[in-house]
Symmetry: C2
Subunit: 129 residues, 2 copies
Amino acid sequence: MTDARDQGLTLNPKYDDHGLITAVVTDAATGEVLMVAHMNAQALALTVDTGLAHFWSRSRQALWKKGETSGHMLQVRDIRIDCDQDAVWVKAVPAGPTCHTGARSCFFRRVGPDGLTPVAVDLSIDASG
Amino acid sequence: MTDARDQGLTLNPKYDDHGLITAVVTDAATGEVLMVAHMNAQALALTVDTGLAHFWSRSRQALWKKGETSGHMLQVRDIRIDCDQDAVWVKAVPAGPTCHTGARSCFFRRVGPDGLTPVAVDLSIDASG
């Protein structure tokens, strides 16, 4: 069940049919998941090289330097890749709200049996209590 | 730039062409990202209803109750959905290593300019220092 991609130390992203991997961004200070987006090879390379998070915008079909318009850039503190190399985890320091709605995190609603409920602002890493 | 899906309280996942959304699982206690996988509507409903994480296995093309074989289930503490409802964030308590390699998290390698390096076991939420 394991191979060089799973266990080795060679970067060999498993891009999907659109040339993309998934990128999860968490707040380096709080652990909160801020956003989920996608990267192509260029976005990943720019993220590694510049220390600022870059993505591929599927809706605009364009390279997307996060914060280029809003100023709310994501300063990268750490980048991890998962076992099958189709997802990266970026720990970052956000310069402002990450979500286009103005929310600090894109994940501002809780899913429950009766639909969605807004999540109060919470800086702890476990808001489940 | 916003609409009912972005701001409303109706669960209306934006499934991709394969009927899937992205699911990010973090450790409810440490904030560590444990895994990234996918859910179809059935997997999401079962996760909400049972409190145990379910996914859709793209490789096996089958519903996947995490831990059904290994016993390493993920007890769900919280489920969030993002602004465009194409990704969920599941906070969970893992019953054992989440990764099929035996690692606690699938994200056990760091990406740097010179390739990948193993990440030492670290229970803090910010391993960037």
